[in-house]
């Protein structure tokens, strides 16, 4: 394993995380960490356990063993809601979008959720009684539309803002997932294969956006990605998984040269 396995002051830490699905050990004592202002990538072949790791970190999956820390807080047993309330947001490999909402409504909802989180309130719908009163209930304001449109345009979805997810291509749906994450204003963002379905130009644009996020807003980014070009171009640190185990970690340059990584991706020949 290479030099920088653990950061000095990581914003996010997962230690010895294990999870089993029936007879399959999906993760086996995997430890990773991610620092604010950096992009930490999680790579590996299909079935390596990358998305499962994101599930454990975000609370959508409950690990059998191991610890998840956000800053100094142990969130290992906290719900996904509580982790979201600690300024964590994520995208899904299979987009989890709402057929009934337009692109713009998705972004507005995520922005409102983020605002409640920042106000220190878990985004319950406790105010739903007020929302029943026609003149008090809050429809989408002009300011919210303007703010949402800015983000939507930035991600290249401007022409589709009044469409629903069923009218978007798969790539656009993934971008909308990213937009949701960004709209929450979260401090920790987990991206699960955001570039799948995008063409090269769109992928490069997305890469620049994620880089800006990390550096300018000091966001902790964990990126699960199959596109190694993108990973090596933008990430600060790379963790490599294979068959549920952490096989190597280090800088992109180190991982590009790593024998273990090459073996995991390309396999071994018999004479080796």
């Amino acid at each position: 394993m290479s030099t920088a396995t653990m950061n000095a002051n990581p914003a996010l830490r997962a230690e010895n995380v294990s999870i089993r699905f029936g007879g399959v050990q999906a993760l086996d004592a995997v430890s990773i960490s991610a620092k604010a202002g950096e992009i930490t990538a999680l790579i590996g072949p299909n079935g390596a356990g990358k998305s499962t790791m994101l599930g454990c970190i975000s609370g959508t999956l409950a690990q059998n063993q191991g610890t998840i820390m956000i800053g100094d807080t142990d969130v290992s047993k906290s719900s996904a809601q509580k982790r979201a309330a600690m300024n964590m947001a994520r995208t899904f490999q299979s987009p989890q979008l709402v057929t009934e909402l337009t692109v713009r409504e998705h972004v507005v909802l995520a922005a409102r959720a983020g605002k409640q989180v920042r106000a220190g309130k878990l985004a319950t719908t406790g105010r739903f009684v007020l929302d029943l009163i026609p003149f008090i209930s809050r429809g989408i304001s002009k300011a919210e539309i303007a703010s949402a449109d800015e983000l939507i345009n930035e991600l290249g979805l401007g022409r589709d803002k009044d469409k629903g997810p069923s009218d978007l291509t798969l790539g656009q749906r993934r971008l909308l997932e990213v937009a949701l994450c960004l709209a929450t204003g979260a401090e920790i963002m987990l991206f699960d294969e955001p570039s799948a379905g995008l063409d090269r130009a769109e992928t490069e644009h997305l890469g620049r956006l994620i880089q800006q996020l990390a550096s300018e807003r000091n966001i902790t980014v964990v990126l699960v990605e199959h596109d190694l070009e993108l990973v090596f171009a933008i990430s600060t640190r790379v963790f490599v998984l294979d068959f549920g185990k952490l096989i190597d970690s280090g800088t992109p340059a180190e991982m590009r040269a790593s024998k273990a990584v090459q073996t995991a991706y390309l396999g071994t020949t018999e004479d080796e």
Partner: protein, 671 residues
């Protein structure tokens, strides 16, 4: 004690057989058979017709039973599978429940249309007149009890053996998880599922015949059997045969043995035994909600629901409604609405205007489905009970002189609000108990709750006033008395539009956006930080309160609070009608509320009395139509109207991307 235990064993054996039928069909098809009561009712009537020497064929009772259980039952199961049940596998939970409730309603209506709707109370089962055949420790055991216990044991052992020890059982269990794998084993998965429906319906028929001497032949008579067998199925997590069997068996024994220990009157004496199926279910739900596997399984159902026919249908609808052209059509709709609303009291007499006024009241109750199902995605079969509880609470307050002063001094409007609050509070408790797990658990627990209210609350004389209902009055507001059908028409319309206005506000608010997210993806809602459990319980309680207020409006028009108008069997018809119209559509729910009143009235004008159940049959059939039209009739009509408006405005409509993908994502060779 032993005699009660043996009687309980026989009752429990009946419940257990019926529970096994539910588990067997669910295991193979992932469809919960809410129509099992209707199937058993139909088959029991066939048995009665075949065996009755006076009005039927007069066949030997054993021969009649054999024909029903071994031939008619399986044929009915096969026919329904071919027609309907085989098409349900991949649909959303709401669609499945809606269709099955529609089938239940339709089967009962068909049975009464064929055989007549007068209940028959004295009916023998296959055994004929009961007689004692032997004694155990001085306790007599009747031939009926003996046959029931032995039959249940044979069915249980046979079912266990087939499912767990034979290739057929393995294939049956495997076909649920992967049809493709079943194909690869050389078995036709359709054959497997069809066979289980045939067997399940046969067993349901068998339980139906054996319960006949206890409950007679009436649509509501089978409700206890079904509620108890559902409790067994819940205990068995819908898939474990033995757990379901013993859960139902213990329930039956407990019910009978409790007779020994409970007083014959008072709340405990009258309410506890009928409450047992509900209590057993709630107990099981509370235990299972702590278990990861059940939670994960219910989540799997939710996730599966995301990419289903409902979503495709909804996408098509939204695709049309989001088209930038043709939005002028809504003004046409508003204009027609105003003309009709104002025209009715002018053009129609007091009778028809009054009927429409009650239609507004029922629409308020139906709008509670929009909150509970349309917004929060909860399948509730107890909205009718919340309406009934609202009625009882309001009438009790008005007629009781201990709480708010002398009788008849509490203003009716205040009583209506109290009715809503009480229904809301009860709704909070039911919501807390049933919303921990997936949609199917909620549907079944609310079904059992509705039955509990029927048997433990409505039957109490202080609420039912010895069957004649407590007197209730009309509201007074700013000096207006609403004491004629025409004035009440405007009161009903005002309340209905006020509730609609509230629901409109809710949908456009943060809460509305959150509920849309919860319906589509609970995982997405959770990762955005929304506490979906609290929100769902809150909206469930609010739905109960709205239903309660609607119920008090009905009582107000009728001037009597008559809880028997709010029983579970009627509630199933309401549910069928609401989901068929579209629970997200306020126009659809208004159409449902109106149809509920107008269809029977119109049919009774033109058709003979023996066809009185024809509207109910139609309500059931429109719910069954959800197989091809999962979002409901009204949204589809609305989309067609908008489509026309778009074309008239020179626009075009494209297919949504989901549809294009679904056409190409089917692997080659998989049909």
């Amino acid at each position: 004690m032993l005699s009660f235990a043996i009687a309980g064993l026989a009752v429990g054996a009946l419940y257990a057989m019926s529970a096994m039928a539910l588990v067997i069909t669910y295991n193979a098809s992932r469809v919960f058979n809410f129509a099992q009561g209707g199937m058993a009712f139909f088959l029991a009537y066939c048995f009665y017709y075949m065996g009755n020497p006076d009005t039927g064929l007069g066949l030997n009772l054993w021969l009649s039973a054999a024909i029903v259980v071994l031939i008619l039952g399986p044929l009915l199961g096969l026919f329904l599978w071919w027609l309907l049940l085989g098409k349900l596998g991949n649909l959303a939970p709401l669609t499945k429940v809606g269709v099955m409730i529609g089938l239940q309603v339709a089967l009962v209506a068909i049975t009464t249309l064929i055989f007549g709707h007068d209940p028959v109370y004295l009916v023998y089962g296959p055994v004929g007149e009961p007689s004692v055949i032997f004694s155990v420790f001085d306790v007599n055991v009747s031939n009926e009890q003996f046959i029931i216990i032995v039959t249940a044991a044979i069915v249980a052992l046979g079912g266990y053996y087939v499912l767990n020890r034979t290739m057929a059982g393995l294939v049956t269990r495997g076909s649920v998880d992967s049809e493709l794998m079943t194909v690869l084993t050389g078995t036709n998965p359709k054959f497997v599922v069809a066979s289980t429906w045939a067997i399940g319906t046969g067993i349901a028929g068998l339980a139906g015949l054996m319960v006949l001497p206890k409950v007679g032949l009436s649509p509501g008579g089978f409700a206890n059997l079904i509620a108890a067998s559902m409790a067994g199925a819940v205990i068995g997590k819908f898939t474990h045969l033995w757990r379901a069997f013993f859960g139902a068996l213990i329930l039956g024994i407990t019910q009978e043995v409790l007779v020994l220990y409970l007083p014959s009157d008072g709340l405990l004496g009258t309410a506890l035994r009928p409450s047992l199926p509900f209590l057993f279910m709630v107990g099981a739900v509370l235990i299972y909600s702590q278990q990861k596997d059940v939670k994960a399984d219910s989540q799997k159902v939710e996730v599966a629901a995301v990419n289903n026919a409902y979503e495709v249908s909804l996408s098509k609808y939204l695709n049309i409604m989001r088209n930038p052209k043709g939005h002028w059509d809504r003004y046409v709709g508003y204009a027609v609405l105003v003309v009709v609303l104002v025209g009715i009291p002018i053009l129609f007499n007091e009778y028809w205007t009054g009927l429409l006024a009650v239609g507004f009241c029922y629409t308020v109750i139906f709008l509670s489905f929009r909150l509970v199902t349309g917004e929060a995605g909860i399948i509730s079969l107890s909205q009718i009970s919340f309406a009934g509880l609202g009625v009882i609470a309001a009438a009790y307050v008005v007629n009781n002189d201990t709480w708010f002063g002398a009788a008849n001094e509490v203003p009716i409007l205040v009583a209506m609000l109290i009715g809503g609050v009480v229904a809301g509070l009860v709704g909070t408790v039911v919501g807390l108990l049933c919303l921990n797990l997936g949609p199917l658990y909620a549907a079944i627990v609310t079904f059992a709750f509705a039955l509990l209210v029927d048997q433990a609350v409505y039957t109490r004389d202080e609420f039912s006033n010895f069957g004649s209902g407590l007197p209730f009055g009309r509201p007074v507001l700013f000096g207006m008395t609403f004491d004629t059908p025409k004035t009440f028409y405007w009161f009903g319309a005002a309340v209905m539009f006020a509730v609609m206005f509230m629901l409109w506000a809710l949908r456009r608010s943060t809460t509305g956006l959150v509920f849309a997210t919860i319906r589509a993806s609970r995982v997405r809602a959770a990762t955005l930080g929304f506490d979906i459990y609290i929100a769902r319980v809150g909206v469930f309680a609010l739905g109960a309160a709205v239903a309660g207020v609607g119920g008090t409006m009905v009582a107000s028009f009728q001037l009597v609070a008559f809880p028997n108008g709010f029983i579970m069997t009627i509630g199933l018809v309401w549910f069928a009608l609401a989901v068929a119209q579209g629970t997200s559509s306020m126009g659809g729910l208004a159409a449902g509320g109106m149809t509920l009143l107008l269809a029977p009235a119109i049919f009774s004008e033109f058709l003979p009395e023996r066809l009185a159940d024809l509207p109910v049959l139609l309500f059931g059939l429109v719910a069954i139509n959800m197989v091809v039209d999962p979002i409901g009739i009204n949204p589809n009509l609305r989309a067609q109207f908008r489509h026309l408006a778009i074309k008239m405005s020179g626009g075009t409509v494209h297919s949504p991307s989901y549809e294009e993908e679904s056409e190409t994502s089917v692997p080659a060779g998989v049909k």
